[in-house]
Symmetry: none
């Protein structure tokens, strides 16, 4: 399939918005200087997309799953598996995974600091001390993430994600005993309780914590798991559609979704997933990735951060930066490709969280029916030729546009 | 229901297209002279239709099933049943049916000519010699189709379509032994293998072949089945909706779908399903059929042929001919009717095969909400009042428009 067009999907995380008072009812997208995004809309076919379904408030994980062609209602049980895969643990179908905090407890297991003083250094050594143990025949994989965060993966027969959290989600409370929510989860609950106890036993004696205590810092003397989820047994995107795919994203959660979906993760120096992310470095990575991959999947987190912060002015600036990055990609890519420019959900600055509104969509490249949409925003795209689609519709549409689909029937 | 409006569904096969370079980015529909089609759009309500789902590349068979209200994912296992029904075999739910070639093999069962010299004459006599035999309690129905083509139907208990093809799909290869793909298909595989052997035994001695050989022509001395499919047990359209329906089409495959759906097939002299089809004869047949039927279903194959041929200029001409035929229908029909004008899939001349794009749709007749669409094409209809619908949505919409639906709830 060497000379088929490539597929580039650019997800501007949380890009969609609602009317903003300080913009006299316009959205950040309508306010932003974005000649390239407008060009993409003008030369392409536009529409609106409900990432999961009409009015459903999608998370970034569930939305990315849907956009990659999976049914999140069937395979999403929690964030754990995707966080774990995102920090680089090789998860397998059937594993049960957790997000964790390194925390500080007193001798009665009362939580003194849920984030262990937002510990930055030494967590790799702490994690290593916990990784690899076995409890009741269940293998324990453990790895540090950013700051006080970590991930736990349990591997073995008879695991279930239907358990309560050990993390009390508040300070001055005792560590919760994990309880099974279904009978099938009794083993898992026992293993997690045992792991939490072991983590206290091992970490409270660890040299990293001895040193912290000598400096007056709260020791990271326990691990508190939460958000159990089971890793789904799913076919990889590449196998399903016979394509070689890669993802570029600074966010562990999105990396995890893409890794579980079988995409290669391309690490980009300076792509932090924060407002300080180096968008041009990402754009360069996209241009390079298009040389070797059939599908390049990019997540740009910055608009979502502005949404959560309620910062409309910053969101406008971020959109202008995305525009520059897209200009670079269109100018410098040597391959023919079909581009889908959209978002994983709407994060309006007025709400500071994800909403169930549709997100704008523009598809650009050979073969698309150009419609009369002139600008890329939430109002103009609603009049586009694609109409309103769901997230799960996007990949099938792009696959047939690049001649990669089988015909159903004859 | 004597004074209810009739329903006329006109499927212009493969009508939808993509921007064409030689038309400076316009589609054949946008280029064609089509005052009547535009009038239908202008006076009606327009939209776009994904025959099966967004981005799914529909076949004509699966698409027609969907438009007639069935779920092709549930009942479509292969083309065989619809081809068999299309050439006039009375198929029944549970029958397993095949497309076949009359082929030429040598004495070692190596295929010398998959089409037996594209045999034209004598296949009816050859077919008759095979029709009606019984193998392991399974009844064999066999009928010739056009040229070297034929259809095979197996009837009896315990049949399954999950078998491999006898046809090696290439010359200089041995006839394949049919193998079951599931355990339940062992009987069917044995019966087909036996039928293939019997066909050789009977046909190689047949006078038609003796004569061919005397003329130096390759004998049609074997039958090679392929594309097994099970005939679905489905309620007829007429029973489901208490309507009397008829289909007008020159294509065996579409005839077959319509026959399985319980529509009467109206044969029209000169309606060939080719570019040479007599569209005015079809139009006259439509006018006549509207007198006696509640639902008239028409397929016009010609645009699809132009799409597969990559012939944009011819597609434009074909559209103008369809326009004339529709002008005749609108002028001469004495009955009130609601018209749905659409396609079963997009066959862009740039792709030469079916794609997963939406097709244009216009619904014309009493009760429809006129929108602002002025022309019938892929771009204009996307702004229409119907929005984007799926193929399965069309018949329910038309049934309620003509007051034929039950209310769901109160």
């Amino acid at each position: 399939m060497g000379d088929l067009e490539k597929i580039l999907i650019v997800i501007c995380d949380g890009l969609g918005d609602r009317p903003v008072d300080e913009f006299k009812g316009k959205t950040p997208l309508q306010m932003a200087k974005k000649p390239t995004l407008n060009r993409i809309a003008r030369e392409g076919i536009c529409g609106m997309m409900y990432p999961i379904d009409v009015g459903i408030r999608a998370g970034s994980d569930t939305s990315h799953l849907a956009i990659l062609g999976y049914d999140p209602y069937k395979l999403y049980t929690g964030r754990g598996p995707f966080e774990a895969a995102g920090v680089g643990l090789e998860v397998k179908g059937g594993d049960v995974a957790f997000r964790c905090n390194f925390s500080t407890v007193d001798e009665n297991f009362v939580v003194v600091d849920r984030r262990a003083g937002r510990i930055k250094d030494g967590t790799a050594a702490l994690a290593k001390a916990l990784d690899g143990m076995e409890i009741e025949g269940i293998k324990v994989l453990f790895k540090e993430s950013i700051e006080h965060r970590a991930v736990l993966v349990l591997r073995g027969n008879g695991l279930s994600p239907y358990i309560t959290d050990a993390d009390p989600h508040a300070e001055n409370q005792k560590v919760h005993e994990v309880k099974p929510l279904k009978a099938e989860a009794e083993l898992t609950a026992r293993v997690v309780n045992q792991f939490v106890k072991e983590s206290y036993r091992i970490l409270s004696e660890h040299p990293v914590n001895r040193e912290r205590e000598s400096k007056g810092l709260p020791p990271a003397n326990i691990v508190l798991p939460r958000g159990a989820g089971i890793v789904p047994h799913i076919p990889k995107v590449g196998e399903l559609h016979r394509i070689k795919g890669a993802a570029i994203t600074g966010i562990a959660l999105v990396k995890g979704v893409c890794r579980v979906a079988g995409l290669d993760i391309i690490e980009v120096k300076g792509a932090t997933g924060g407002l300080d992310t180096d968008m041009m470095a990402k754009a360069e990575a996209v241009v390079k990735a298009l040389e070797t991959y059939d599908l390049v999947f990019v997540n740009i987190k910055a608009p979502d951060i502005c949404g959560h912060d309620g910062n409309a002015g910053e969101k406008v600036k971020v959109i202008a930066r995305i525009d520059k990055a897209m200009e670079y990609v269109l100018k410098n890519a040597n391959q023919n490709f079909v581009l889908a420019l959209t978002a994983d959900h709407t994060t309006p600055v007025s709400v500071k969280d994800h909403t169930g509104d549709a997100v704008p969509l523009a598809i650009h490249g050979r073969g698309v029916r150009k419609d009369s949409v002139r600008t890329f925003d939430e109002i103009a795209c609603a009049k586009g030729g694609m109409g309103h689609i769901l997230g799960k519709n996007l990949l099938p549409f792009l696959l047939q546009l690049t001649a990669r689909s089988e015909k159903f029937g004859s």
